[in-house]
């Protein structure tokens, strides 16, 4: 058959083949597209597979109590610093009716116009802002507008210690450190090193929660603050990276890093975020900071550990008890109108007894809605009760500013300059502050944020 083909007819055939194949496939794809149903809302969630059953339960419970609304929930990864999928979708004019957003992303995303203004819907809903844990509520608003409803509240962090290692070091296993001085003294006794300086047992890793997060934790514990929110004189707020107390916190870490060798400490605890060979769970680190979602992990991977749980130590002139709150919120991407069904779903997820119960019981999350009845139970639990205490006392969140991502990154670099490069904490943080202020001003120009009133 091929023999009969002249060059010219062949040319045509190849050409047609090349055009026809994609065309056929594209046609078949278009035909299978479902019609948009007015009573279906789409929701994007970022959780790993172990939460799928709980998520299904949430959807089923909502659909049962709201028979005229159907929820289509699907996975959209969000690695806490970036969400390529969501931003591509928003830039491309598609995207869900409702999406989960992490607390640290909220002010930046709101300032940049990624999220729809929920103020009207919230005003009409009859909900009160004081029903939520205050730090989480502050995080969900920007310039007086509501851009999200807080769903979870992660009390960061609880202090965890290994009683067996305390006993081995002849320390009282029932008495965790209260002050930084006590902590330093205990670390000294608990840490075991070989003659080469390699660590066999680690006291604690102060910069465990990567980069800027540990500056928040210890900075707040030392009584510092990284950002002053806008007032009449400073419409953009003030970046206070070199707050003397924050400098103290970083200097403490630097001293620690020098004494135990930052590279050896890191070598001991290198981990891929979320999957590491965690030295504490392996019984090789005496103390650590625990995230609420790790309670489950603790029982899973270290069921033979005799541990104690309490509050993070702080200097005597610092803040104790202290903590800052993170967590997921629910929001509407800006290119979507705020549909009543979508808002109803958000409201139900964040405030209903049923949803908050599933959230706490099946997902190991603390609800952001302070009035949820699950707290009666959580309060009494020996482990979760500690987290409750942190939550109830916490005043802080991460910084709430339009260049949040850059600030976190820049703080992380300042930490490296101090810990690895041996630079003085004060100048490294001051330099970071100058850079961030500069970026804040230029972004404010771009986004016309200088007016104190509205975001957009």
């Amino acid at each position: 058959m091929l023999n009969c083909l002249t060059r010219r007819t062949f040319t045509k055939r190849v050409g047609w083949l090349a055009i026809a194949m994609p065309a056929c496939i594209s046609l078949s794809g278009c035909l299978s597209k479902p019609a948009v149903d007015p009573h279906v809302i789409t929701v994007w969630q970022p959780f790993d597979a172990s939460n799928q059953a709980a998520l299904d339960h949430l959807v089923a419970a909502f659909e049962k109590s709201h028979p005229n609304i159907k929820v289509r929930m699907s996975f959209a990864s969000n690695d806490l610093t970036s969400s390529q999928k969501l931003f591509l979708a928003i830039a491309g004019g598609v995207g869900p009716d409702v999406t989960f957003v992490d607390g640290q992303q909220l002010s930046e995303w709101a300032a940049r116009g990624a999220l729809a203004d929920l103020s009207d819907a919230f005003g009409k809903s009859g909900l009160k802002s004081d029903g939520f844990w205050n730090p989480r509520w502050r995080e969900s608003t920007f310039r007086g507008h509501v851009f999200a409803m807080p769903w979870g509240a992660d009390p960061n962090f609880a202090f965890l210690w290994n009683k067996d290692l305390f006993r081995k070091a002849h320390l009282d296993p029932e008495k965790p450190p209260r002050s930084i001085d006590e902590l330093d003294a205990m670390v000294d006794k608990l840490t075991a090193r070989d003659p080469q300086g390699n660590i066999n047992i680690l006291g604690i890793n102060p910069w465990e929660w990567s980069g800027a997060n540990c500056l928040f934790t210890w900075g707040y514990a030392f009584g510092g603050n990284l950002y002053k929110e806008p007032d009449a004189d400073h419409p953009l707020g003030t970046v206070t990276a070199d707050d003397p107390k924050v400098v103290n916190a970083l200097e403490w870490m630097a001293k620690f890093g020098k004494k135990y060798d930052v590279r050896k400490v890191n070598a001991f605890s290198t981990q891929v975020v979320g999957v590491g060979n965690d030295p504490f769970f392996a019984g090789k680190a005496a103390m650590r900071l625990l995230h609420v979602s790790q309670i489950k992990t603790l029982h899973q991977y270290a069921p033979t550990m005799d541990f104690g749980i309490g509050l993070i130590p702080a200097p005597m002139d610092g803040e104790y008890p202290n903590g800052w709150i993170g967590g997921w919120s629910l929001a509407v991407p800006r290119n979507r109108e705020v549909r009543p069904e979508a808002f109803e779903f958000i409201k139900w997820m964040c405030t209903s007894d049923e949803a908050t119960a599933i959230e706490a019981n099946e997902m190991e999350q603390f609800p952001a809605y302070a009035k949820s009845p699950v707290f009666d139970r959580l309060k009494k639990d020996p482990v979760r009760g500690v987290f409750y205490q942190i939550l109830a006392n916490a005043k802080h969140v991460r910084t709430l500013m339009p260049v949040q991502g850059y600030y976190m990154e820049r703080l992380g670099r300042a930490m490296d300059e101090v810990l690895f490069g041996g630079q003085p904490a004060k100048s490294a943080l001051a330099k970071a502050g100058v850079d961030v202020t500069k970026r804040l001003e230029s972004v404010a120009d771009e986004l016309a944020l200088h007016g104190t009133e509205t975001a957009k």
């Binding site: 091929l2 090349a18 194949m21 594209s26 794809g29 597979a49 289509r72 491309g92 979602s293 033979t304």
Partner: protein, 322 residues
């Protein structure tokens, strides 16, 4: 056998290196068979083990539940007392080699495996067909046909690989959206039918080693280019084409970002996304993740094993020449 000592050294080198190179896979399998309390251990132990306890004169497997002061609470996992919890002195517990298969059964339950497999295979199948066809045609055009502009086209094609995808992602997404392709498999599949610069380049290199005299001979016999492509070039390049097929299959099978960005429904997601979801923000189900990772790798290993016969067949010039 004249090179005997050389061959023995070669064989030994093969064995040593093979062990080194298969280590990731062995470790994956080993972790996938470990119990939870053993997964987090700091030591790199390739043999899966489990805790056992002497109960009524026989060793039974137990699962540590929690510590209570000096005593360890364990749950008995087999025998007549299955399910009961007992407190024991930690020194009574022993570790013995043990394969924990539940990571696999739990892993299959963690996500809709078979639906995701079906989605993945559909995409892979179309991508392989599209790539093999379009790449071999284009490579023939670039390597075996003398025409003005082919160098320019070749460089234009190479150049497209040099711009990082991160910055073309948004306009590309908007293009697909304009075509109405978002939330379909088209953005993942149609480009494969338009050739892939990497493989076109590779095939071009292979085609250029085919002696021009073969094609000239066929042309003098009156064969068209299509016929030369189909009867001379394709059979000679079976090896290279099967490389294209296997490599594109692997790439499509493991692709995470493409399906994540262009698909919008859980129903349409692929195995790579399912696997990624086993990794949590703060913690992961290690055993399950590794079990599913083995399940995802195994088909590729088998595919490679079967296809390599074709890989190494070579272009078999000798046969044609003779």
């Amino acid at each position: 056998m004249k090179n005997h000592p050389v061959r023995i050294i070669g064989f030994c080198a093969l064995v040593v290196l093979a062990v080194l190179f298969s280590l990731p896979f062995i470790w994956q399998i080993s972790t996938s068979l470990k119990t939870e309390d053993q997964v987090g251990k700091a030591e790199l132990d390739l043999i899966p083990r489990a805790q056992v306890l002497m109960v009524d004169g026989s060793l039974v497997e137990v699962k540590p539940v929690e510590r209570k002061g000096d005593l360890q609470v364990v749950q008995i996992k087999e025998g007549p007392k299955k399910g009961t919890k007992v407190s024991v002195n930690p020194s009574q517990l022993r570790l013995i080699p043990h394969l924990e298969w539940s990571n696999y059964s739990e892993g299959f339950k963690a996500f809709p495996f078979f639906r995701m497999l079906q989605n993945t295979l559909t995409i892979c199948f179309l991508v392989v067909i599209g790539s093999v066809l379009s790449c071999s045609l284009s490579a023939y055009g670039l390597a075996c046909v003398q025409w003005k502009g082919r160098e320019a086209l070749f460089w234009a094609m190479l150049a497209t690989m040099m711009l990082p995808a991160q910055v073309t992602m948004i306009p590309l997404f908007q293009t697909f959206k304009g075509l109405g392709w978002i939330n379909t498999i088209l953005p993942l599949v149609v480009p494969a039918f338009c050739g892939n610069a990497f493989f076109i380049f590779m095939l071009r290199q292979f085609y250029r080693t085919i002696p021009a005299s073969f094609m000239e001979a066929a042309r003098i016999d009156g064969a068209s280019d299509m016929r030369i492509w189909a009867t001379v070039v394709l059979p000679l390049s079976k090896a290279a084409l099967s490389v294209v097929a296997v490599f594109t299959f692997i790439a499509a099978w493991n692709d995470f970002l493409g399906p994540l960005l262009y698909l919008m429904d859980d129903d349409k997601y692929t195995l790579a996304i399912g696997l990624a979801r086993l990794q949590g923000q703060y913690s992961s189900d290690w055993g399950r993740m590794m079990a599913m990772s083995v399940v995802m790798t195994l088909p590729l290993v088998i595919l490679f094993f079967l296809a390599q016969r074709t890989f190494v067949e070579g272009i078999k010039l000798g046969g044609v020449k003779g």
